[in-house]
């Protein structure tokens, strides 16, 4: 265990690009000094931006009829640091990795960024309203899964620093060792978070309970009427990974790029024939809830796609609450 101030830790990364939340809206951007790293005061976007940019070039080309004119963009594969992730975010990136790298087709853009990144994950002694990561098995505000370096905040200035992978360990060798007192403080912070976190959301069998309620007008009727389809839940969610692909032309140069898309948008499932299998907000909000709490676990194995970060709960302008959905589903299933 090591100990460090923000600045001391930042200096361990000299020579590497560091992405951290900056500014009043906490977008993830490159920072050149520890002072630029913001403390959360607003609803943050998730660090998914650092791995799946909102606007990402897939390739450039000069001639739409000639595939050999394709030029791939330069993805810097030098190691870079993503600072300011929380355990929920780190877990979410692992889950996205399952989708993007298992099977026959891997998403090279995501995988290359993910493998090159050094994930600095900070534990949460004081969970935010809406956080419920502890409701998921194996998850909690101090879960180290998916991190390279794990930080426990001791006070405003210092962190307990642990290298959780070899990549992370090698970067922090110059930091001073933590004293027994520091370690004890860290344990206290950890206990504080783990006692405070919401563990009341039923997730054990939720995937089956929700499957049983798929067609229930009574169940979904409570939320779909007020859903505006704004899509903010999908934008702030660390484990939402859907995208739209567009082509752009400037002069005689072309670019194919992808942007975040949302299953909440009306045109998301619109087919070329004009048919839309999810024509109203009812089908769309149901899709999101089922994907997060049911479909993903049934399809990929043992984990839910929702990581309990609480961002969608905090940001939804009409108070749609995924915790409430899970609780009601479990109650109705009984």
């Amino acid at each position: 265990m090591k100990v460090a101030t923000k600045k001391e830790l930042f200096d361990c990364f000299s020579g590497m690009k560091v992405f951290a939340p900056v500014g009043k809206n906490l977008r993830f951007a490159e920072v050149s000094s520890a002072d630029e790293i913001a403390s959360p005061e607003s609803i943050p976007l998730s660090p998914k931006e650092a791995f799946i940019p909102q606007d990402e070039t897939l390739f450039f080309y000069d001639n739409p009829d000639d595939p050999t004119s394709i030029v791939e963009p330069e993805i810097d594969e030098k190691p870079f640091v993503v600072w300011g992730m929380h355990p929920c975010d780190a877990k979410a990136m692992e889950l996205i990795g399952k989708v993007y790298s298992e099977g026959n087709y891997t998403d090279g853009y995501f995988v290359r960024r993910y493998n090159a990144s050094v994930k600095v994950v900070i534990g949460c002694p004081v969970p935010h309203p809406g956080c419920f990561c502890g409701s998921f098995e194996g998850m909690g505000p101090f879960s180290k899964s998916g991190s390279d370096i794990f930080l426990i905040p001791l006070d405003d200035e210092r962190f307990l620093v642990e290298g959780t992978t070899e990549k992370g360990e090698n970067l922090i060798t110059s930091l001073p060792d933590a004293t027994d007192e520091d370690v004890a403080k860290g344990e206290a912070q950890k206990k504080k978070g783990e006692d405070a976190i919401d563990r009341s959301v039923p997730t054990e069998n939720i995937e089956n309970s929700m499957q049983a309620l798929f067609d229930s007008e009574e169940f979904w009727g409570d939320i779909y009427h007020r859903c505006m389809g704004c899509g903010m839940c999908t934008y702030v969610c660390p484990s939402c990974y859907c995208f739209d692909i567009q082509d752009e032309r400037i002069g005689d140069k072309y670019r194919r790029y992808r942007v975040w898309d949302s299953c909440q948008f009306g045109l998301f499932t619109l087919e070329a024939s004009g048919h839309n299998p999810r024509p109203t907000q009812k089908e769309r909000i149901r899709q999101r809830m089922m994907h997060k709490l049911s479909f993903f676990k049934l399809r990929y194995g043992d984990e839910h796609l929702c990581v309990g970060c609480g961002r969608c709960v905090a940001i939804c302008p009409v108070g749609i609450d995924i915790r409430d959905v899970a609780k009601r589903a479990e109650a109705l299933a009984k």
Binding site: F19, E30, E49, A50, P53, D55, E56, T57, F60, P73, E248, I250, K253, R255, Y257
Partner: protein, 146 residues
């Protein structure tokens, strides 16, 4: 690009029945005017969607002119009345956000006004020249990635 060499590119949306005919008359009468405009013929000034203007500026056009029939003389009776309100709204909006007011221009030029067309184009070209090549709000390169 050397500013001295720069020649403004101006897109002119001319309504078929009045302004385009007026431009034609200017040509036939050999009225000289700056050669920087490129004409897009539209059936009526009302056909011009404000997004045409904004998209033109984004693509690197230095200035835009939209010209139609005088109010009361629209070939489609009421088209230019609607256009007048639309352009007013566009002008007010661009003005509010501080966009250069010399780049977006409107005129009424009738089929008989070859002389006026000459004057309008000269004026618009001078206005655009006075503010230089477009720098704000133009998409020259693809967005950089992280």
């Amino acid at each position: 690009m050397d500013e001295k060499e720069w020649k403004p590119k101006i897109l002119a949306f001319l309504c078929n029945w009045c302004s385009y005919a007026g431009a034609d008359l200017a040509g036939v009468s050999r009225f000289q005017y700056p050669p920087n405009i490129r004409v897009v013929r539209v059936p009526c000034s009302a056909r011009v969607n404000p997004m045409f203007v904004l998209k033109a500026l984004q693509s690197g056009i230095d200035g835009v002119l939209v010209s139609g029939c005088h109010p009361g003389d629209c070939h489609y009776i009421t088209g230019n009345y609607y256009a007048r309100r639309k352009f007013t709204a566009l002008k007010e909006l661009l003005d509010f956000v501080g966009y250069d007011d010399k780049r977006v221009n409107f005129s009424w030029v009738s089929a008989a006004e070859g002389g006026k067309f000459q004057k309008v184009v000269t004026e618009v070209t001078n206005r655009v020249k006075s503010v230089g090549p477009i720098k704000n709000f133009v998409k020259k390169d693809f967005q950089e990635q992280i």
